[in-house]
């Protein structure tokens, strides 16, 4: 055992330097050089250079005049990007049904005329609690409410939703989706 100690210790130190210092340093250097925005969190800025959020991290929305994103299970407030978390509620947990009922009710209160079934992603918590996107169906579901609240024509919002919809990557990967923060920022821009 003693004869193995020396190579074990020295090789461990060398491999640590190689994989724990040099490798992350090379990746950081190249990523900062090639993809400076992405490597730092994909932060967005407005015309004045002020940071408005991250295009990859969702934000909490609950006013009737904004599109709402996925429910978030992070603590102590929704969309806490410093502590990602899912709800971990199991499919047969009564607490899941209660939470979903409350979310459906909130949507109905905000838009009593809307009798359409609620798209499932709008009333279920995302895996990360930071999901920046909703399905196009969930955006469509909210167009009339936002249009009424803001007093603008639904067609304008429809166009805005379409402009902020990403289709499947390379035509087949993943799912079509709408970035809620980008959509709301674009909408706020419109009304200013």
């Amino acid at each position: 055992m003693i004869k193995h100690l020396k190579p074990a210790i020295i090789l461990f130190v060398l491999l640590s330097v190689l994989t724990g210092v040099i490798y992350p340093a090379i990746v950081t250097g190249l990523a900062q050089l090639l993809f400076p925005s992405q490597a730092n969190g994909s932060l967005m800025t407005d015309n004045n250079g002020k940071t408005t959020g991250s295009s990859l991290i969702g934000q909490p929305f609950s006013s009737f005049g904004h599109f709402w994103g996925r429910p978030s299970a992070t603590a102590p407030f929704p969309y806490n990007a410093g502590a990602s978390s899912g709800s971990n509620l199991g499919p047969t947990n009564p607490a899941l049904v209660d939470a979903v009922k409350a979310r459906i009710q909130a949507l109905k209160i905000a838009d009593p005329d809307n009798k359409a079934p609620v798209p499932v992603d709008l009333i279920t918590a995302s895996g990360s609690g930071l999901d920046p996107q909703i399905s196009p169906a969930a955006a469509t579901y909210q167009i009339n409410r936002v249009a009424k609240t803001r007093n603008i024509r639904p067609e304008i919002l429809r166009a805005l939703v379409d402009a902020n919809t990403e289709s499947r990557q390379w035509g087949f990967l993943g799912e079509p989706r709408v970035n809620v923060l980008k959509l709301n920022l674009a909408m706020d821009q419109l009304s200013h």
Partner: protein, 602 residues
């Protein structure tokens, strides 16, 4: 399942199989010490490492030396990770000023990363400093993977050599796995991921303004920093308004790349690859998912090449792929069918061109049902354990598939190296059983399988179930075990069973509702991980040593060919029989009961 859903699964499987041959060929050359394209750059580094550490790369080891070297090296790794966690508060690269980690949690994480399990008892962004992440966790991601690959290569040499008592040099296999295979692949993957939006920075967390402020309640702290309590002993709450959001960042891309390629699975962030900064786009998702099975799949071809008959490798790869594909087509429809309890509430769970529908609790919009369920099968087929959706919120059947994949021993692709050496153990059992049936001495790849090999193979197959079932039984009997359960009823039992299935097979994924960061679970799961890793690796090396010493038996009339469809069926049958007989009773108490309750409640 939609046609797009089928298409995404098919593209994944085809890409995976197409890469098996080129990468498998490359790895075989690396392990046979032949020159590969990267030699000019890496050979000087390799030689320097041997010179500094006093290793003679030409020197061969007996299996006992190989095993001792492996154990000493992994012990050092675990100690280093433990020390880094305990001391991180006073070490550099800790911009968030995170404090040191409790001894039981530090032990659990050290065991977890040294054993290639990468179970996360902690929450990355609120617990681990950047230094712990790169110098502790990233390093173990590399070397624990390289350790598994080294054991596999030693086992293969047992089959190819005859009448010798050595099986290679552990230091060389370890170094070459890291230097020539894991590092170059990780570098490429890390950069592509960074381009997609995975963060890679040493800056502190970024505060960004919220468009809408949110108010929330939090416990009010007194001047001494202790939470105030009212007369009834309840905490006094105060209302706080959040005007900004602090976005956790860090050197994630470099770690995520090796986390996937080395079948490690420990995320940089708490929610692992569900986090938009760890897995931002469908393309990053595809590549991360591909990387999980890339090396385990290709190693089958490496195996075939090294034993001089590539059909042997294809046979095992075929067996793995068949089981894998069948389980994908169970898990995806189970998740796509949604939750009956929500269907009653006028919720639209149907798949259409404008939504993925299905059981979306705990899933991300960009991945939808197909990529979340496919990932769950991939990550538990391999001993990876990273997640891109919360398995705890899966439907009972959708959650049972990953649980069972772990329980059958992580041999359907499995961990890098460990998956294939586990599968070869099953192949040894399969030829033994068939040898009994046709009345011949069992042999595999020209080596007689005798009592010693069978004993060792039986140990490797029996240790994980012992950890899983024994651990689960203990945890559900004691109060500290039951107190950590989050969901009620049968699902709560599933949480405990899943935790021990994961630790006892070195996977690392979880039904995350369980509060496993307690001294009880940290200790018990940590021990399960250690036993399941090293009580398998050492018997496998013993088999390697025993086989290397044997002479080669010429192929005769009574030899069972091990590259035919018959043998593939026999191998699958052996894996499934062991897995089914051992775990069906436990599964009946968890996911099966829950499924019946769920569909019966309509």
């Amino acid at each position: 399942m939609t046609s797009n859903s089928y298409f995404q699964v098919i593209v994944y499987v085809v890409t995976l199989l197409a890469l098996a041959k080129p990468l498998g060929w490359y790895m075989a050359r690396v392990y046979e010490g032949e020159s590969v394209g990267l030699n000019r750059l890496l050979a000087p580094i390799e030689r320097l490492m041997y010179r500094l550490s006093g290793v003679n790369p030409k020197e061969e080891m007996r299996w006992t030396d190989y095993a001792v070297g492996l154990l000493v090296f992994n012990l050092l790794g675990a100690l280093a990770v433990f020390a880094l966690q305990r001391l991180q508060a006073s070490l550099p690269f800790n911009p968030q000023h995170l404090s040191g980690i409790s001894p039981d949690s530090a032990f659990n994480t050290a065991a977890s990363f040294a054993t290639n399990t990468n179970w996360q008892g902690y929450s990355g962004e609120v617990t681990m400093s950047y230094l712990t992440q790169i110098l502790g966790l990233t390093v173990q991601n590399f070397v624990s993977a390289a350790t598994g690959m080294a054991v596999l290569v030693a086992l293969i040499r047992g089959f190819t050599r005859r009448n010798v008592d050595t099986i290679g040099n552990f230091w060389v296999d370890l170094t070459r796995s890291t230097l020539y295979i894991l590092m170059p692949l990780s570098l490429i993957l890390a950069l592509v991921l960074a381009g997609q939006g995975v963060v890679q920075t040493f800056n502190s967390y970024q505060a960004v303004p919220l468009v809408e402020t949110v108010s929330y309640e939090q416990p009010k702290l007194g001047v001494d920093g202790v939470a105030l309590q009212d007369a009834g002993g309840k905490p006094v709450m105060e209302s706080v308004e959040a005007k900004e959001q602090v976005v956790a960042v860090g050197p994630a891309a470099s770690q995520v790349a090796i986390k996937q390629l080395g079948t490690n699975g420990g995320g940089f962030f708490n929610v692992n690859s569900a986090h938009p900064l760890e897995n931002p786009t469908p393309l990053s998702n595809f590549l991360e998912m591909l990387s999980i099975l890339l090396i385990p799949g290709a190693l089958c071809y490496t195996f075939g090449m090294m034993v001089g008959d590539t059909r042997q490798g294809w046979a095992i790869l075929t067996a793995m792929t068949l089981v894998f594909v069948v389980l994908v087509f169970i898990a995806v429809p189970a998740e796509q069918s949604g939750n009956p309890a929500l269907a009653a509430l006028s919720v639209d769970q149907s798949a259409s061109i404008s939504q993925s529908g299905g059981n979306m609790e705990g899933k991300e919009t960009r991945f939808g049902i197909t990529n979340s369920a496919l990932w769950a099968v991939v990550t538990t087929a391999a001993s990876n354990g990273s997640v891109n959706a919360m398995h705890d919120s899966f439907t009972p059947i959708g959650g049972m598939v990953p649980m069972w994949l772990m329980q059958i021993g992580e041999v359907i692709f499995g961990g890098v190296g460990s998956g294939l050496y586990g599968m070869i153990m099953f192949a040894i059992v399969a030829v033994f059983v068939s040898g009994l049936m046709i009345g011949r001495t069992p042999e595999y790849l020209g080596k007689k399988i005798e009592a010693y090999e069978m004993k060792m193979a039986a140990i490797t197959i029996l240790i994980p179930p012992l950890m899983v079932l024994g651990g689960t039984a203990l945890a559900v009997m004691v109060e500290v075990g039951k107190a950590s359960v989050f969901n009620p009823g049968a699902h709560g039992f599933s949480e405990v069973l899943y935790a021990f299935s994961s630790a006892g097979n070195n996977n690392g994924s979880a039904f995350g509702g369980i509060s496993a960061n307690t001294p009880f679970y940290n200790t018990l799961l940590g021990l399960a991980m250690l036993f399941s890793r090293f009580w398998l690796a050492v018997p496998v090396l013993a088999i390697a040593g025993s086989l290397a010493a044997k002479k080669k038996v010429p192929v005769g009339l009574g030899t069972l060919p091990t590259h035919t469809p018959l043998f593939i069926a026999l191998l699958i049958g052996t894996v499934l029989m062991v897995g089914a007989l051992t775990f069906v009773p436990a599964l009946a108490l968890g996911p099966v009961v829950e499924h019946l309750q769920m569909i019966g409640a309509k």
